[in-house]
């Protein structure tokens, strides 16, 4: 198991920013009467600058596990991940401190990114304006609705202008306007060279994706050029599919 990094600024057009090779992951337990679950067996993928990449798959297929390994918050059992540049990670559930206000949340995570107070302030106002949560900057996280909490969850991933965005169903709870704004933002970022990777369940989104990876049977398949829908999206609609 290895992981390597290179510095920001080395990235060039269409450069591979994340490369995963032969990733294997099994969730196990040393306690008796528990079962181990093999999630990934031989997963490979590449993420390049300026691409919007979708990761699709049936429930429990290992999409979030794969993303957590790519981000680096979960260790793979074997295989390698090469990472370049900076990452912004938006987990599926908002991982935020409930008792802090939105402004304090930006300050704390911004200090983690190594941003100055001015940079944090600028990012906070820019994203609050874009995603329409300016009126909630003094609210505590636990006083926000699910949709607004998700906006903060996403904003924390975006605030330092990362080279790679890793988004695990980032629009959960968004209203239609915010959903459209999110896609405008994703397309703007991709046009500026950011690699946007997201776990997606919605079939109609596939036309917006430059590359689609499907996680199935522990492996990752590039299904970008396949006509029609993937097995995963079909099965999520309850249709029979051929394996």
């Amino acid at each position: 198991m290895e992981a390597s990094t290179t510095t920001k600024g080395e990235a060039t057009s269409n450069k591979v920013l994340v490369r995963a090779n032969e990733i294997e992951k099994t969730y196990g337990s040393s306690f008796p009467f528990t079962r181990s679950v093999t999630v990934l067996t031989d997963a490979d993928l590449e993420i390049r600058t300026g691409e919007i990449v979708g990761i699709v798959g049936a429930n429990g297929s290992g999409k979030s596990t794969l993303m957590n390994i790519l981000v680096g918050v979960l260790e793979q059992d074997s295989g390698t991940v090469e990472r370049t540049g900076t990452v912004g990670w938006c987990p599926q559930e908002p991982l935020l401190y409930d008792r802090l206000t939105v402004g304090e949340t930006f300050r704390l995570f911004g200090s983690g990114y190594g941003m100055t107070a001015e940079e944090i302030d600028e990012a906070k106002h820019r994203l609050a304006s874009k995603l329409d949560f300016e009126q909630y900057l003094d609210y505590r996280i636990d006083q926000l609705s699910g949709g607004n909490r998700q906006k903060i969850n996403l904003s924390i991933a975006l605030m330092h202008d990362p080279d790679v965005l890793m988004l695990d169903e980032p629009y959960t709870g968004f209203d239609w306007e915010t959903y459209l704004t999110f896609w405008d933002l994703a397309e703007e970022l991709a046009a500026d060279g950011t690699a946007v990777t997201m776990i997606s369940h919605l079939i109609e989104e596939q036309s917006r994706l430059d590359r689609i990876y499907e996680v199935r049977d522990g492996q990752v398949y590039d299904v970008t050029d396949q006509e029609g829908e993937t097995d995963a999206t079909a099965s999520e609609r309850g249709e029979e599919t051929d394996e």
Partner: protein
């Protein structure tokens, strides 16, 4: 932006914005100190048991009150923040700095809790060495704050963690506390977290002095707990491979 100051402020704000914490910190000392004192003083009504003075009972109540509150605060601060901590560390916030800010905030809270307990105690007993008495109450609180943090780093859920901390603190205060109901306790009780803080506090309270050996033991206890909590927290916050900043 200064990570340490931002982290300490965030941790203190989190504590103050949890109303149960504030209520516990302010009200529990009164209940525990007076309750423990009266319970100890009431023992002569039982056959073959000789009561300890009410002052000693109150002192034991104070040390238990500080320990239980600080322990639960340490536990809650670690468990409630665990998932968000992992995300914060992923952004580049160093785990040791994060732990240091949390323990610093916890230390501040412990001083306040000890001050409240000392104040309640002072209303009924005049300490021989007031400053030492206060300092040793703080030390007792710090031992349990670190212990709570360690349990919080090890156990994933608040319910199980609370059971461990509460049960441990009650057993500890009971067996370390010269209770006539716990006569002939085994020698290993000396290694319980509150044994030496209680010895220090009792001596400072009633004789105005302290024993260096007890103080050294408490300092060693704190150091060991600090090393353990740092190691466990480091393991739970480990990320595989970084990204360039």
């Amino acid at each position: 932006m200064n990570r340490v100051w931002t982290g300490i402020r965030a941790n203190v704000s989190t504590f103050l914005r949890t109303p149960l914490n504030v209520v516990l910190a302010l009200l529990l000392p009164i209940v525990v100190i007076e309750g423990w004192g009266q319970a100890m003083a009431g023992l002569p009504s039982m056959p073959t048991v000789e009561a300890i003075p009410i002052e000693l009972g109150r002192l034991l109540g104070a040390i238990f009150g500080v320990a239980i509150i600080a322990g639960l605060m340490g536990l809650a601060q670690m468990i409630s923040a665990r998932a968000a901590d992992r995300r914060l560390v992923q952004t580049g916030y160093p785990p040791r700095t994060l732990l240091a800010t949390r323990l610093a905030a916890l230390g501040g809270v412990t001083v306040v809790v000890a001050a409240v307990n000392y104040g309640v105690l002072w209303l009924t007993i005049s300490p021989g060495a007031p400053v030492l008495t206060f300092v040793f109450l703080v030390l007792a609180g710090l031992v349990y704050a670190f212990l709570g943090a360690l349990v919080g780093a090890l156990l994933p859920r608040l319910f199980e963690g609370s059971l461990v901390v509460v049960f441990l603190a009650m057993m500890d205060a009971f067996l370390s506390g010269d209770s006539p109901l716990a006569a002939d306790v085994p020698e290993f009780v000396e290694y319980f977290p509150l044994y030496h803080p209680k010895e220090l506090l009792q001596e400072a309270m009633f004789q105005g002095t302290y024993t260096t050996g007890d103080l050294g033991f408490v300092a060693g206890y704190l150091l060991v707990l600090l090393v353990l909590v740092t190691a466990v927290f480091g393991v739970t916050m480990r990320t595989s491979g970084g990204w360039s900043a």
